[in-house]
């Protein structure tokens, strides 16, 4: 059995879980899961059945952990459920809206359940419906809504009481590309207000776009956590180059950098050579060698991966597995 992945200490994290185990009968949904969710937008990634929704429910106090501790802004959700839930907004993955109501009625009802007065909730409801760009159709029963409009109402009900922590479970589910774009823009705007937002999604490039942090979970265990940028960088000493020059010059350049760098791959793209190199040499050596060899160095930068690459690597690499 592998040791749990160390979770970086984050004093400002509003959500902290330590060795949380949740079991449904014989199924181990969370297995000594530890993480901390810092302010900003954090992506929660994992395959189906990895334990993402279970973690969110455990934080909300909807499921009781067998062991371990969860703190939301220092408060135990099992003991002080009302305190926690007043600070949390939740956008569930599945259909959950009260379809016989119109959004104004439903969102303001949810606002009142979260402690707003009737007057405040109605005013705030119109504000958040404006924010999610739901127009005059807000007076139509939700039953008549498209998936995209329903997703907007789900987001509106999650933010109506201005929670400091927001859980968004597959917020772009069922949306067309334009709808996804709009939803991600809304999430980015909410994130800009300094809230702690945990976005669970299967669509990795969306997470890549909006999240500053990423938590990868598999089979109930944390397998990777860190800043999105750090995870996507393939590691120190890997650089991508784009060169233009004749064959001899490029061969001379390659030979010149070899003592310090290993050429991992090359490809010829319409007369332009792309090259991936790895090594601990100084970047200045590359520039000077390019000058000496007479090639144009048209691009030089650290090699980066997509979040999907990271995800596949992490899961295929078996990190966090073995239990």
């Amino acid at each position: 059995m592998t040791e749990p992945i160390p979770v970086p200490a984050q004093a400002e994290a509003l959500v902290q879980a330590t060795d949380v185990t949740v079991r449904f009968g014989d199924v181990l949904a969370l297995d000594r899961f530890s993480t901390s969710v810092p302010p900003g937008i954090t992506g929660l990634l994992g395959p189906n059945g990895a334990g993402k929704s279970t973690f969110i429910k455990a934080v909300l106090g909807l499921v009781v952990p067998e062991s371990g501790t969860i703190r939301v802004d220092g408060v135990d959700p099992q003991r002080e459920m009302t305190k926690v839930r007043d600070r949390v907004g939740y956008m569930p993955e599945h259909d959950c809206l009260i379809t016989s109501m119109d959004p104004v009625l439903m969102v303001s009802y949810m606002g009142q359940l979260s402690g707003m007065t009737r007057k405040d909730s109605i005013q705030r409801t119109h504000e958040v419906l404006d924010f999610v760009a739901l127009g005059e159709e807000r007076y139509r029963p939700i039953a008549s809504y498209s998936t995209g409009m329903r997703q907007k109402v789900k987001l509106a009900q999650a933010i109506v009481h201005d929670p400091s922590i927001l859980f968004l479970d597959e917020p772009t589910n069922g949306l067309d590309p334009q709808g996804r774009d709009e939803m991600l823009a809304l999430i980015e705007k909410i994130g800009a207000s300094g809230k702690t937002i945990l976005v669970s999604s299967h669509i990795l490039h969306e997470i890549e776009r909006v999240s500053q942090q990423v938590i990868i979970i598999d089979r109930g265990r944390l397998v990777k956590q860190g800043s999105t940028r750090a995870l996507m960088s393939s590691g120190e000493g890997r650089f991508r180059l784009k060169l233009r020059g004749n064959k001899q010059a490029i061969e001379a350049f390659t030979a010149g950098i070899r003592p310090a760098f290993e050429v991992v791959s090359t490809s010829d793209e319409s007369g332009q050579m792309s090259m991936l190199v790895a090594g601990k040499g100084d970047s200045a050596a590359i520039f000077s060698q390019a000058g000496r060899a007479g090639v144009q160095l048209r691009y030089f930068g650290p090699d980066t991966l997509t979040l999907e690459d990271v995800f596949v690597q992490v899961l295929d690499g078996g990190e966090g597995r073995g239990h």
């Binding site: 599945h94 924010f131 127009g135």
Partner: protein
Amino acid sequence: MRAVGINRIEYRPWKGRRTDPNRRLLVISENVLRRNLASKGVLLVLIVGLILVHIFSIIGAVFFPHEALTNADMIGGQAPTVEPINATRNVTGPLGVDPALLVNGSFTVVGDVSVEGTLTLTGALAGNGSMVFARTLFQMGNVTTQGYLSLEGTLTIDGTIFGKGTISGTGHMNGTGMVSGNVTGGGTTTSGPTFVGGGYLTSGLLVIFTMLLAAVVCSDIIADDMADSSFVLYFSRPVRTIDYFVGKFTGAALVMGLFCVLPPMVYALVMLGTQTGSDYGGGLVILGKTILAGVFTAVFFLPFGLMVSSLTDRKAYAGVGIFMSLFVLTIISGIFSRGSREWLLVDPFNMVSYAYRLLFGGSLPSGLHASHLAVAISLVIVVPLIAAYFWIGRKGAGK
């Protein structure tokens, strides 16, 4: 693309103060009340029920002179009296006019009882000893005699006897029910409060419409949340299962109260306001009892309704299920009470009716005990409540 007519705004924080978490269940109650008062089905049952059950009675209270508000106004019957029957008595007025003809308890006749003419009995008829019917047509429940009825032993009447002939006997007449006709005897008649459905609360229509209203109100109260999977929206907020449950129950009870509590209260107040006598103290006590009876009626059917509603996500199934389930209990009671009178307590109609009797100072039909009634009522209320509560708790932590 922007929605027409909407100027998108940036996210703005909310700076208001939150209400007490313990009062959130009232938000649920208010929502249930508002939704039901906007529901065509509920409004239809409410309006028709108000007209048929309450409005006519209230108008009657205004126009028919009365000395005071009495128990009999609410549930029919009169105070117990004991008097000898030495001669034939003849009833020519409305039922219940002659106390001698109102019998409560066991009706014992030593000698003959005969009916010349027609005897109609609504309710159960039981006799110990020999019963001789000559030229009679006998039915369980309703008995109609063409001719005369002779009886030796005990006759227990739990219903109403409309006699157009003569009942004659020597001994004591103790019965629950009402006799209208000629009674001849050599003993005494003990006539207690008789509860024959003639009172405002015991007309039968009140319970039927209450049941109907409960079915309509409860049909979507939980079923809709199940169909929409919206439990999660409640339980991701500071709402516990008990808050959700109590909130829904209270909201439904408020709707029921509009039919079961308010109109009887108005009726009692109108009776008090238009009485010719000066005894207002007794009337106020009856007003209090009326409110209690109304509250009991309002909440009696709800646990059952909530339970059925929590078992299905189709509100039509829930509505029909609630109404039919209660009727099935009535049918079961009707079948098995022929063997054992305790089965009468399975019938929700009887439970309500008998509870009224006890509340307004009357007695139960012979063979039934108040403790058994209490157990039956508790079962009808508590068991469905517990079942619905735990079912909702399981659903709440669902998807």
